[in-house]
Amino acid sequence: MRKFLVFFAIVALVALAFAAGDRDYHGITIRITVNQAGKEGAISGPLYRAAKIWEKETGGKVDIIEIPFTQHYSKMMEDLISGAGNFDASIIGSWWFGDLIAGDFVVPIDKYYNSGKHPYWNKDWLPPSLQILHKWGNTWYGVPNDSDGQVLYYRYDVLTNPEYRKKFKEKYGYDLPVPPKTWDQVLDIARFFTGWDWNKDGEPDYGFVMHLKVGGQGMFHFMSLSAPFVINPYNPKLYWFDPTNMKPLIKSPGHKKALEFLIKLIKTGPKAQVSWDLGEAWNFFLQGKAVLTFTWGDLGSLAQDPNRSKVKGKLGVSVLPGTLESYDIVHERWVKFPKDKPNVVGNTTGGSWHGVIFKHSKHPEAVYDFLSLMATKDFSLWNVSNGWTGVDPGWKIHFLRPIGEASIRDYMHYGWDPGDIVEYLAAYYDNFYAKLILPYLMIPGTFEYWHALDVHLSEAVTGQKTVDQALDAIYKDWENITESYGRKKLLKLYRESIGWTAADDKEYKKYHH
């Protein structure tokens, strides 16, 4: 009931704030696609709520078309390619962006943003790491909505258990760090908690759990994990391709070490996880059967739901751990870091699902108006503080005062444990505002590149290929994809997308001939 009251309060507030007559969209219906999850589901759910408010305010109508995640990209592309033009907008994953730009399917939003006629949101709320996902060069195409990034979740209650800590120290010779600061520590902890009954339910438990099914977004795990193995202060930009010839960098010693590490880590989890989707893997952690996992913000908010979770109030969250050694691709060398200052890299791994407006839409302004409603402070805050919405925090306004504009009370309203929320937001702040961020691939073909990555990683983690073979296969597939699109064209777009300049070239060419 309280949720409803708050919801209606927001409806009223938003309605009051934008009662202006400028926004009259009577007789206009906008059609928008989103991942299928229903009226109470992730990403799609908030759309229904926003539609209700928007329809009341402007008189327009919103048609929400839900398409299953596994088919959303291809169906959207089919519609655009075939010229059918059934949709005005889509809530896209940021890795589809390159194809939309290259195909010239979307319109910039700057004109509408600057007009001041529409619900207010501010580009500067977003940290630069997230801004990049919504624009091409300096032109904005996306209206912000979700902020995805993976963080480390751990069982605070288990890791601080004195008895377990004592045993850990005996075995590994150092104090169990809470939270762990490096991946090596994570591996020690995960190994330590694997194979015995630490939650006292009569069954042996595990250290770690991941979702690694093909098509289950398992490649995201590798990206986030490998970030500090490849990205470092000496190489902040190069992760995907060589910026001079578009050759894949995936076979670099850093990537290789990361994959070897991932395989070691998987051994501390249930065997079935290689066939698990997000739902099964999260369920496993929420049922208290694993000590650690790393994934999106959804898990933190799902943990607050007593129907699904046994770990409410027992949650620790931190930015993903770093490494003490990282491979510098620019200078072709390993770089070492001091024990107390590991190399930590933030990530925007995931979709950061947000709206874009299609070129053929007859009512781009109305569509923008609707999308920007979801980016307003009130709506967004409601969005991130409610677990089921699947919208994760990341903007300045989502964080607690004095950094941001939210208060603990705002979150407690929606059933958050106060301890959990402080940890959760701090971890997200550390992640999105990290000095180094894993570069996000935004060129055309990213969907295909990432799928090849997903498939061959799965081969490596299920023992069908050795690490070298898997990386080789990825390399070959990526080369084929690059060729099929045209190497020159992609190279230009890639350099633009990571902001690679002639000056960078000079430095790079000193070490590569």
């Binding site: 589901g41 398409i67 299953p68 596994t70 519609d79 099964e280 959804d298």
Partner: protein, 279 residues
């Protein structure tokens, strides 16, 4: 031949095991469809005794516009394709029975020409058909699916109807000819009524095939023309698979073809074996 008691026992055991095997998935779908999400992965198999059944999933499912729309699309596509395929196939089946073709294309050649259509793997023509449908602006309409599905099912109709007409005594046609009836009349007034059971069975078989078709459905429809199998396949969302809806949806989609298959079995053997084996 008499069976000894222990032989009977062994047979019943083997048959029983396979009966359970064949039936279990249907039961499992039913059980899942009346469970709430948190009960899905529990080891409970018997409703009421082990868990409290709920109709919630069914209520949600049958009030989801998407599912209802897919149900409508599936019905339209299957019905229209069946009519086209059966009509076109029956014409050929009839002609191959009553006429003797000479010259380069004899009866067998014509028959085989239609059969090769069925041997062709659909994925071979998928890409060109996709672009053709795109150019005709038929993508995401039921028409694209109707065209493709009827094309691929014409052979089935040819086979079964040819068998059907062959089983009619030839004298009937002769008599009608003597009475001065044209071939059109003979076809509609004599041949069709006499082969009505075969016609119904053929329709049921083709209806089921179209109803179950997935490859073309998932390729040629994105939102408006989506059929039930595509909806079932879409039970996977970005937070994993919703097993409880797998239960409701799979039962919803399977029920018609399963019933049809039982009703049309005698003709099925002929159809599926190109008339090589009589049912």
């Amino acid at each position: 031949m008499r069976l000894r008691w222990y032989e009977k026992l062994i047979m019943y055991v083997i048959l029983g095991v396979f009966a359970v095997w064949a039936f279990f998935p249907f039961y499992w779908a039913f059980v899942n469809s009346i469970k709430i999400p948190s009960q899905i992965f529990q080891k409970s198999w018997i409703p009421v005794v082990q868990f409290k059944p709920t109709l919630h999933n069914w209520k949600v499912e049958l009030s989801t516009p998407m599912v209802l729309e897919a149900l409508r699309n599936s019905t339209i596509v299957a019905t229209v394709s069946t009519i086209i395929a059966v009509f076109l196939g029956t014409l050929v089946g009839f002609a191959l029975t009553v006429f003797r073709y000479r010259g380069p294309f004899k009866n067998t050649d014509i028959y085989i020409f239609f059969l090769t259509q069925r041997i062709l793997p659909p994925v071979v023509v998928l890409m060109p058909l996709y672009i053709i449908m795109k150019n005709l602006h038929l993508l995401d309409t039921v028409w694209a699916l109707i065209i493709v599905d009827s094309t691929f099912n014409i052979p089935m109709a040819v086979v079964i109807m040819r068998e059907m007409f062959k089983s009619l005594p030839e004298e009937i046609f002769e008599a009608a000819l003597v009475d001065g009836a044209g071939w059109g009349r003979i076809f509609t007034k004599v041949a069709l009524p006499l082969s009505a059971p075969g016609l119904v069975a053929t329709s049921m078989i083709i209806f089921s095939y179209v109803w179950n078709e997935f490859l073309f459905a998932v390729s040629f429809s994105f939102t408006k023309a989506v059929t039930l199998p595509v909806i079932v396949a879409g039970t996977q969302q970005n937070r994993g698979i919703e097993f409880w809806y797998v239960g409701t949806r799979s039962l919803l989609v399977m029920i018609i073809p399963v019933i049809f298959s039982l009703l049309s079995q005698r003709y099925l053997v002929r159809g599926l074996t190109f008339g090589a084996v009589k049912g």
